[in-house]
């Protein structure tokens, strides 16, 4: 038999039909929806007088719009409230499970899927959100889709999709102290660029990836889209199985045994061919930070901003526009730059391990006076766990504002916005112009870097000076 990649095994097992000279009709095992990208899809169903084909395979949560304080009160912003209410109505009408505000399972869609055991190896998973790639950490083919495609899934449990090419990124070796999974992915994107993965599905492999926890793996897969990739996945192993076992929606009893036997077959065969391969040395990775307005504009925190002199004219112009927006110059050192906000949260780094990492660092310290520090758990369960472990007290003691679950300042769609011109070190995934608020300047980094910046009030290498 021809050696096959993990991606091919999962994808091919879900092809219902191959359109002649066209896309695949791909069956979807799990469909997550949220309030922003689903309403027009439901309207489409109504116009055609259609029901949701398999309501039990869709699960909903409002996350983008929700305020992160006073969640027990009605949402003040009328448009946001309207969108969240519409999601509730659509779920009621179509019999879809909703983890609404104040539900014990509420949270960011890509945080609750894994923590509830909904996300499982071998599945096809989609959501009208580009960070759906997060679920690939479990060895699932998971990717973001548009609203027309959300409607396709609601109507038929399938989507039409051209099959992407395959890429493998291997990270071998041992990570240095103070280097986290966020640094790995920022490093990878700084090397291959924001379009380096376009048209491809990435499999992350190598000893440095294997040694990561499930949450670390989720951070890596989450940002696959920032390299342009359709998605990213990691072969499931004991770490994966241990994480899933016992969770609310995980298979139980005989079904668990059956599934587990199947999951253990899910890996790329020896000799499987990828369209593109990259290999990186884990020991070359340092704590990373971005300096520009796309996630590919990242560097080792100790390095200066590069000079765009040798870029082609349009690229140079784009680079200069970006630095101009950020208020930086080529050659500037990142270390020592003053910062105004620190945001820890999002589907990239809003999980319990991220909160633990920050708490561990700031314990017994105080944030700098010039810093506003927000820490936003990815879900109610993360929030509860943090309280139980005493993390909440530590963070509040250090001057962090602990907020309620939601996408928060990652995308400035709710009340949490970074003011124009201010600098925010953020554990989220995008540093696009205005992403965290009109005129806001975002520097992406790991939770550890964010914690160190909060304490010092300026960009600092978390491995030094403490």
């Amino acid at each position: 038999m021809t050696p096959t990649t993990l991606f091919d095994k999962i994808w091919d097992a879900h092809v219902v039909h191959q359109v002649e000279r066209g896309p695949n009709v791909l069956y979807i095992d799990k469909h997550f929806i949220h309030e922003v990208t689903s309403p027009v899809a439901f309207l489409g169903l109504d116009k055609r007088n259609l029901k949701v084909s398999r309501p039990e395979k869709t699960i909903a949560t409002p996350d983008h719009n929700v305020p992160t304080i006073d969640q027990h009160l009605p949402i003040k912003d009328q448009l946001s409230r309207n969108q969240v209410d519409q999601l509730t109505k659509n779920c009621e009408k179509h019999n879809i499970q909703l983890c609404g505000l104040n539900h014990p399972w509420h949270g960011i869609v890509h945080v609750i899927g894994p923590e509830l055991g909904i996300t499982q190896p071998g599945m096809t998973i989609v959501c009208g959100d580009s960070h759906t790639s997060t679920h690939g950490a479990f060895g699932a083919v998971a990717f973001g889709i548009g609203t027309s495609e959300v409607e396709m899934v609601l109507a038929s449990q399938c989507i039409l999709q051209p099959k992407p090419k395959k890429m493998r990124i291997t990270v071998d070796g041992k990570l240095k102290k103070g280097v986290a999974s966020k640094d790995i992915i920022l490093y990878i994107i700084s090397k291959i660029g924001t379009a380096g993965g376009t048209g491809h599905f990435i499999e992350y492999a190598g000893s440095a990836i294997r040694e990561l926890s499930m949450e670390g793996r989720m951070t890596i897969c989450n940002m696959s889209i920032e390299s342009g990739a359709r998605g990213g996945l990691i072969a499931p192993d004991e770490t994966t199985f241990t994480y899933i076992e016992g969770r609310e929606m995980a298979p139980k009893g005989e079904m668990w045994d059956k599934k587990l036997a199947y999951w253990k077959t899910l890996k790329s065969d020896e000799g499987a061919v990828f369209d593109k391969e990259y290999t990186f040395d884990a020991s070359d990775i340092e704590p990373m930070i971005t300096f520009g307005t796309n996630p590919g504009m990242g560097l080792k925190i100790s390095q200066p901003i590069p000079d765009p002199q040798n870029l082609p004219p349009n690229s140079r112009q784009t680079f200069e526009k970006s630095l101009n927006y950020m208020g930086f110059k080529p050659g500037d050192k990142m270390i020592g730059k003053e910062v105004d906000y620190v945001f820890v949260g999002s589907c990239t780094n809003g999980r319990i391990e991220d909160l633990r990492e920050v708490a561990n660092f700031v314990k017994g310290k105080k944030k700098a006076d010039n810093i506003t520090a927000w820490i936003v758990p990815g879900s109610r369960q993360v929030e509860e766990q943090a309280r139980k472990e005493g993390i909440t007290n530590i963070l509040e003691g250090a001057g962090f504002q602990l907020r309620q679950p939601g996408c928060s300042a990652c995308l400035a769609m709710n009340d949490d916005k970074i003011p124009a011109g201010k600098y925010a070190v953020s554990t989220s995934n995008r540093n696009f112009e205005g992403r965290q608020g009109p005129g806001a300047r975002t520097l992406l980094a790991s939770p550890l870097v964010a914690a160190a910046v909060a304490i010092k009030g300026k960009i600092v290498d978390p491995r030094e000076n403490f």
């Binding site: 219902v16 359109v19 002649e20 000279r21 066209g22 896309p23 009709v25 069956y27 922003v36 990208t37 309403p39 027009v40 309207l43 116009k47 055609r48 259609l50 983008h64 719009n65 448009l79 309207n82 969108q83 009208g128 959100d129 973001g144 889709i145 548009g146 609203t147 027309s148 495609e149 409607e151 396709m152 109507a155 038929s156 449990q157 989507i159 039409l160 999709q161 992407p164 924001t194 376009t198 048209g199 889209i225 342009g228 359709r230 599934k259 199947y262 796309n294 690229s315 784009t318 995308l411 400035a412 769609m413 124009a420 995008r430 696009f432 112009e433 205005g434 992403r435 009109p438 005129g439």
Partner: protein, 197 residues
């Protein structure tokens, strides 16, 4: 809902030689709160197009009356980032029917095609030619012919072929819609479900 048919288009073009235009620029998240597809074009390129007092920024190309047309010619890697289909809706409802670039992000490309907005991917060299031609003469007419898969500078006949998936091409030319197609496969899908573990 069937999409508008597309066969061929002749139009002037709007040049935007910026690379990596992400969907947060095309339409920022704070303008995605509607529950129906309405008025997204008003906030197309919002923060590039208007200042903080909602006044048009004169140096932004959409506010420059020199340029107009149904074709947007943009720098490499157009449509990266968020999967928001609102980006495709905003561009379409503003009046664009074709986006030309040397590279498109995957999700944006799918979203555009699903709305009858044609993404035309060409070489970096031809893209540069288009930018130069439009800058020299903003009245430059460009033809995008979906049937022959060609983009042509009408003034001198300079042209390049572009690729499009044959299935999507047929959908665009005939105005077909994917949902109708998927619904026609109902039996096949049910048969597939029988064999699911």
């Amino acid at each position: 809902m069937p999409i508008d048919k597309f066969k061929t288009l002749q139009s002037t073009a709007v040049p935007m030689p910026i690379e990596n235009v992400d969907t947060d620029q095309i339409i920022p998240a704070r303008f995605l709160k509607a529950i129906e597809r309405k008025d997204f074009d008003k906030n197309l390129f919002r923060d590039w197009r208007y200042d903080k007092n909602d006044q048009p920024k004169p140096d932004f190309v959409l506010n420059d009356s020199t340029y107009s047309g149904k074709i947007l010619v943009a720098g490499e890697n157009f449509g990266s980032g968020s999967s928001r289909e609102h980006a495709a809706w905003a561009l379409y409802d503003y009046g664009f029917r074709v986006i030309v670039s040397s590279f498109f992000a995957d999700i944006f490309k799918n979203n555009a095609l699903n709305n009858g907005l044609l993404p035309v991917q060409i070489s970096a060299e031809f893209l540069e030619k288009l930018f130069i031609a439009i800058q020299k003469d903003p009245g430059t007419l460009i033809e995008v012919n979906l049937e022959t898969e060609k983009i042509i500078l009408l003034a001198n006949g300079d042209n390049e072929s572009f690729e499009i998936n044959p299935y999507k091409k047929e959908c665009l030319i005939k105005g077909y819609d994917d949902i109708d197609y998927l619904l026609s496969l109902k039996d096949k899908i049910q048969e597939f479900e029988q064999n699911l573990m």
